[in-house]
């Protein structure tokens, strides 16, 4: 097991190298010139060229890539072209809101979606099952920003229960922190709840047909115990897989959700950086997201062994 974990961690290195090459190349060929953005409207072509040189944007592709890679290997993500702040500082400023949003969304989604899926499978063909499936279809179909605007309209404007926008750090208290995250987490989590609920239901339906479930029933195991201890544990592997895959959905959705609720997270940082062609920031954030995704996949693989003892690495 330990050897497997070490192997997987080491395997992230070539993956990250490919991601780095891909990200850098994509930005290199993408249209846009940060020097022209910085120079402003009154600058002459010579001014723009001077800025381009000072930023090192006039150097050949391989030289720029090599320099960037070297800096990355030395733990330096570079400096923002526009703010002149280190990219690592900007990411550090933004990571807490995004992490908070994702954690709250994950907790909310799993704690709602898994019971929903289990109950839908248990009550297959009933009104409850149909209601869960209808919610899943709607939840999966309605865009995050639509849900966000509706929530903000009712919960913030009409009923004045929660703030419309912004983020309060956890250091200022749990409730102020949570206040700003409830609506965004529901907006972002809706599609995730729909996805997990559907998978849970489908997997549970299959497991509930198994012989050992019939045996458990015959032995007099209670309904809740049978569903959540015996059946759910055996249905867990596909569910955990979907939860892992869904983290990519969360990262994508966070970009929109952070814009709708004005949360100063990494998603907004990425969008701002793309619009301004702030290459070091884009590269840094995409690398970070890639790294997180690789780690999540590793964690999911390891989690399989907890739910299914037959799986060994």
């Amino acid at each position: 097991m330990f050897a497997y974990v070490v192997r997987r961690v080491l395997a992230t290195i070539p993956v990250m190298a490919v991601v780095a090459l891909f990200v850098f190349s994509l930005l290199y060929i993408a249209p846009g010139d940060p020097a022209a953005v910085i120079a402003g409207d009154q600058a002459t072509p010579a001014d723009v060229e001077r800025i381009r040189q000072s930023l090192g944007l006039d150097r050949p592709y391989l030289v720029r890539f090599g320099a960037w890679l070297w800096d990355i290997l030395n733990g330096d993500l570079g400096t923002s072209i526009f703010t002149n702040l280190p990219v690592s500082t900007m990411i550090a400023q933004r990571i807490e809101p995004t992490l908070s949003l994702m954690v709250v969304t994950l907790i909310l989604a799993i704690s709602v979606a898994v019971p929903m899926g289990v109950v839908a499978a248990w009550k297959q063909g009933t009104v409850i099952d149909r209601a869960v499936m209808a919610f899943a279809v709607v939840g999966f179909s309605v865009p995050v920003f639509v849900v966000g605007y509706l929530l903000a309209y009712f919960f913030a404007l009409e009923w004045d229960l929660l703030p419309v926008q912004g983020y309060t750090p956890l250091s200022r208290g749990v409730w102020p922190w949570l206040q700003n995250l409830i609506l965004p987490a529901i907006a972002l989590g809706t599609v995730y709840i729909a996805l997990i609920a559907r998978i849970t239901r489908a997997t549970m339906l299959e497991v509930l047909q198994q012989d050992y479930i019939r045996t458990a029933k015959a032995k007099g195991v209670g309904q809740a115990g049978m569903l959540f201890l015996h059946a759910l544990k055996n249905a867990a592997v596909p569910i955990v897989t979907v939860i892992g895959i869904g983290i990519a959905l969360l990262i994508g959705g966070a970009v929109v959700t952070e814009s709708v609720f004005a949360i100063p997270g990494l998603g907004r940082l990425t969008v701002d950086a793309i619009l301004r062609r702030d290459y070091p920031v884009i590269q840094g954030v995409v690398l970070l997201f890639s790294f997180v995704y690789v780690l999540v996949n590793l964690a999911i693989d390891l989690a399989y062994t907890l739910f299914d003892p037959r799986i060994r690495y």
Partner: protein, 537 residues
């Protein structure tokens, strides 16, 4: 205790923790002004960052040698006064006593000189000044002089300008930074201190009232002139890129002031409960002027006759209706304005010469196009869809060009790509472009000094690169104009030439409303949003 009692108690306790947000915290909140600017400043250097939002930030932090009142007259601000000697070739300025930067150091003549030098490298007005400066000398801590090799009558207009790249005074150590590199700290001597530790780029900027600020002892506060008295302990800028969210935040009272509500959302503030709590007004009386910039170095707009045909066809009201709509506000029943020439209509540079070229006639334009041999020619129009006003104007323009008889190819992209692509002077088949629509603030078109789009200095001109030496000659004449009449004569001639040569096509003007909670009073009119004089009732 029953479980439900326990849960009920927990619920009440949770509710109680929320109460301070609405109750106890109120007095502290009342001393904070929460503002949503129209954009994210990006960086905090007022010279390298030519965006309006960077200027707005700078007016909080930095002070100017001269302010400008609502009538656009220069008024001493940091200086006590000046004398002009030697037939206008020597200007001597004396600073007011007690001026200090936010780091505690005194404002000295050498700081002013270094700031003028840095500004003069980046700003078009400053560049003209610097081309005439023989030397600048600090005569004492509070006195500095500028010796010219040619008179520069517009000195005070240059020092007090309120459009982008204003002359802000910063400590010498910051002003000595290469003008093509950003400064990384904002230390000024203005009424508010920039709280760098709280700066979260793209999300929030915060400012604290500068206790040692010494306002001008007399005079009337008017735009950037007169005493700058800060009434709020703290000003917070919250960057909210989504218009619906900013609208909701203003309605719920989470913010006090939204600088530029969008055309589709501000009408909601004029009705019902919103109207009781939210005021919609115009503070930027110079408006926003739309333009179509043709590319003068590629066909078909390298032919002046084709550019004039666009002038013949254009209906400015169509463009402004698409941009701002037809809803008016109390201060102005119609936010649109047509009959716009090459200078802001309220400016001392404005005239009516050439306006009869705007005939609103597609048929006449088609005939002109036919005569010029450009009927059916291909146009590549760049459209920045991430900017609502530009997108609206471009769509109207594309339709107009099609009706005129052009073969229009619309390239929809973002502003960052437009900026990059517009630098290309290549022909259309090699990635070139024919034109794009954009907006300038009215103060940019106030006089020839800051008017980049009218200039005709060829390769060094703003993308589009018109070569119109006659306009450049009149621009020079304006700088040397000894009085207002001579200045107006120069700008009138510039406009006459512009309607012949068409460096760009004016597409109209609109007034951008601002929206704020009604408990704010003392908001200053003028160009930039200003944070002194304003207070909570």
């Amino acid at each position: 205790m029953l479980r439900r009692d326990l849960l009920a108690g927990a619920g009440l306790a949770a509710a109680a923790t929320a109460l301070p947000r609405f109750g106890i915290a109120q007095p502290a909140q009342a001393r904070v002004l929460r503002y949503v600017p129209h954009a994210n400043p990006g960086n905090i250097d007022p010279f390298t960052n030519t965006a309006f939002v960077a200027r707005d930030h700078a007016f909080l932090v930095f002070d100017q040698l001269y302010g400008m009142d609502e009538q656009f007259r220069p008024v001493p601000q940091m200086v006590q006064g000046h004398v002009v000697e030697n037939d206008g070739l020597l200007w001597r300025f004396t600073l007011r006593e007690g001026l200090r930067f936010h780091d505690g150091s005194a404002v000295r003549g050498r700081d002013c000189i270094a700031s003028i030098r840095r500004w003069g490298r980046r700003d078009a007005f400053g560049q003209v000044l610097m081309s005439r400066v023989a030397d600048m000398t600090e005569e004492s801590d509070r006195v500095f002089s500028i010796r010219l090799n040619r008179p520069f009558p517009k000195m005070l207009e240059a020092f007090s300008k309120v459009t982008t790249s204003c002359l802000f005074v910063m400590p010498e150590r910051l002003a000595n930074v290469d003008p093509f590199q950003n400064i990384t700290e904002a230390v000024g001597s203005g009424p508010y201190r920039f709280l760098r530790d709280e700066w979260n780029p793209g999300s929030r900027l915060a400012y604290a009232r500068y206790a040692d600020y010494v306002p001008v002892p007399s005079g009337t506060t008017s735009m950037t002139a007169g005493p700058k008295v800060a009434h709020f302990d703290r000003v917070e800028w919250n960057i909210i890129p989504d218009a619906s969210t900013a609208s909701a935040a203003l309605q719920s009272g989470e913010i006090d002031w939204w600088e530029q509500p969008t055309a589709d959302l501000f009408p909601a503030f004029l009705r019902g409960a919103n109207a009781r709590n939210i005021a919609v007004d115009i503070i930027n009386n110079s408006g926003l002027i739309g333009i179509f910039r043709p590319n003068h170095v590629t066909a078909p707009f390298n032919n002046p006759a084709v550019r004039r045909a666009v002038l013949t066809a254009i209906n400015q009201m169509d463009f402004m209706t698409a941009v701002i709509g037809t809803t008016g506000i109390e201060a102005r029943r119609d936010l649109r304005r047509e009959g716009i020439g090459y200078f802001a209509p309220e400016s001392p540079s404005a005239s009516n010469v050439g306006l009869d070229r705007l005939q609103k006639s597609i048929e006449a334009a088609r005939a002109q196009l036919q005569a010029a041999g450009a009927m059916g020619q291909r146009l590549v129009l760049m459209n920045a869809t991430d900017l609502a006003s530009i997108n609206a104007a471009t769509l109207v323009g594309a339709d107009l060009f099609r009706r005129m008889g052009f073969n229009v190819e619309l390239v929809s992209t973002d502003w960052g790509t437009v900026i990059a692509r517009r630098a290309s002077r290549n022909p259309l088949e090699q990635g070139g472009w024919s034109g794009f629509f954009t907006f300038w603030s009215g103060v940019d078109h106030w006089n020839p000094a800051s008017h980049a789009s009218i200039r005709g200095h060829g390769e060094n001109a703003w993308p589009g690169w018109p070569t119109i030496p006659a306009i450049e000659a009149q621009r020079d004449a304006w700088f040397d104009a000894p009085n207002d009449a001579a200045a107006l004569a120069a700008t009138t001639e510039m406009q006459r030439i512009a309607f012949e040569e068409v460096p760009y096509v004016p597409t109209g003007m609109y007034y951008q409303p601002t929206a704020f909670r009604r408990n704010l009073t003392g908001m200053l009119k003028g160009q930039p949003p200003l944070f002194w004089n304003i207070r909570r009732a």
